[in-house]
Assembly symmetry: D2
Homo-oligomer: 147 residues x 4
């Protein structure tokens, strides 16, 4: 798989989390599927800090299902570790919400995982929106992502 | 805590499941919280077999949030184990749905956990129903739980 | 079920958490099983603050599997809510670790759930310890729970 | 991201699963992270059917952490749906275990998601193996994947 070179992020959020006992698997490392939750933690922290939470979107008349997610694992997190999730908003001309993620071990800033997610907009009739909804365009303007 | 002697179950369902790798914790045993999902597996299997799934209830105009759940752990399940969840409907005069659960290791029928859950009825205005909804009374009659 | 009156807690920890999107179920409320994780969040915060984490216990030669857990649900948490988990250590003469939990909605301190968990000690041969291990007795003395 | 054309699968497993109530999110569809568990269900079913479970690998002296996973979502699964997970072993000359996944809605065989995972071998000293372990080569020969 050839990964497209990441574009310049328009906005960046960083949030920290504590590894939970229940997230550790039989190999004594965080189960790989938990990073999908960590990315969600990052995305939700981003939403709260930049005014674009799931409920903000929902109240504008849209839902934003995931259409693609991926994760690359570099180094395992273990019990008692704390992690930093960096969430970067990647602007796109398409009617999509694209985030890239980097997860770092807090103690030494070691990069432990990276990822990327793509969401689309469904309107209240669950139809795919082919152009970015007005509220999303306004949000981008507010944060100087577009003019 | 003094546990009330279990009443006679009115209907019984049994379903089997396979322990998943991701359910095992750092102690190499199934994480205790996963049994709450196993009980849900049992409750949903019961619902499919006796015609009272979450969607059946929802389409009758009600939701049935949990108000109490408990679990007693007797013996750990491990990776590669299969388990049988026995779900027993306990009739009550109150407007409640009460289930009791027994989880057995499939290989030798060892009892590994027991539990009990209590759900109530909320109507479409999210108000607590103090008497059993008609659809629930009819369901009990259909299965000869009440006359 | 008749619940034994709670004993006086010996030590208390309070930690806050953010409800995650993935924790909300089809009823638009936090899925009941997630509170078992919230209790674990509380127990782990307690462990870090009072020097008795899972790894502290493990390094003393013991594991502490759950033998009983229960949860009573008073009011639902929803998306975007924050919650406070209060974890109270209940001293026991038996070789058990007993915690009681109260979960509050942060915005108005509404009590949303309560619970209790009981753990036992297994030694390195996975045998049940019938008397409290020395490290646990020392830990209690350090915090003036016993003399 | 440009996805490499999938190679011919060497072995294929199909397993079915029932969507659980707790897997559905606030959008009334299966939460995207649950598909990572569905892929694991597929991988474990594959392992049981072709004699290469996690414990088989572990007993050969290796662990096989995930180094990359991705998922593309085509159509949402909902409550009460059943799904088929097709897991395809993709042979590689590298010391890697590669699987591709297709998830179908059982009722009409609609393709709802696809994915791919890559695992590597760590020996008992947690060092990365650069060539395929003997047991893995033997396993491939047994199934006529290599000569």
């Amino acid at each position: 798989m050839i990964k497209k070179k990441s574009e310049e992020p328009a906005l960046i959020d960083r949030t920290t989390l504590q590894v939970r006992f229940s997230e550790v698997d039989a190999m004594q490392i965080v189960w790989h599927g938990e990073y999908i939750r960590y990315f969600e933690d990052g995305r939700e922290s981003f939403g709260r800090n930049f005014g674009i939470t799931y409920m903000d979107v929902f109240n504008s008349g849209y839902t934003i299902p995931m259409v693609e997610i991926n994760c690359q694992y570099k180094f395992p997190l273990k019990i008692d570790d704390r992690a930093i999730v960096e969430t970067r908003f990647i602007n796109s001309d398409a009617a999509k919400i694209i985030f890239e993620y980097s997860v770092f071990r807090e103690s030494d800033n070691l990069l432990v995982a990276t990822g990327r997610s793509v969401q689309v907009f469904l309107n209240e009739d669950f139809e795919l929106e082919l152009v970015s909804p007005d509220f999303f365009v306004e949000w981008k303007k507010k944060w100087n992502i577009i003019r």
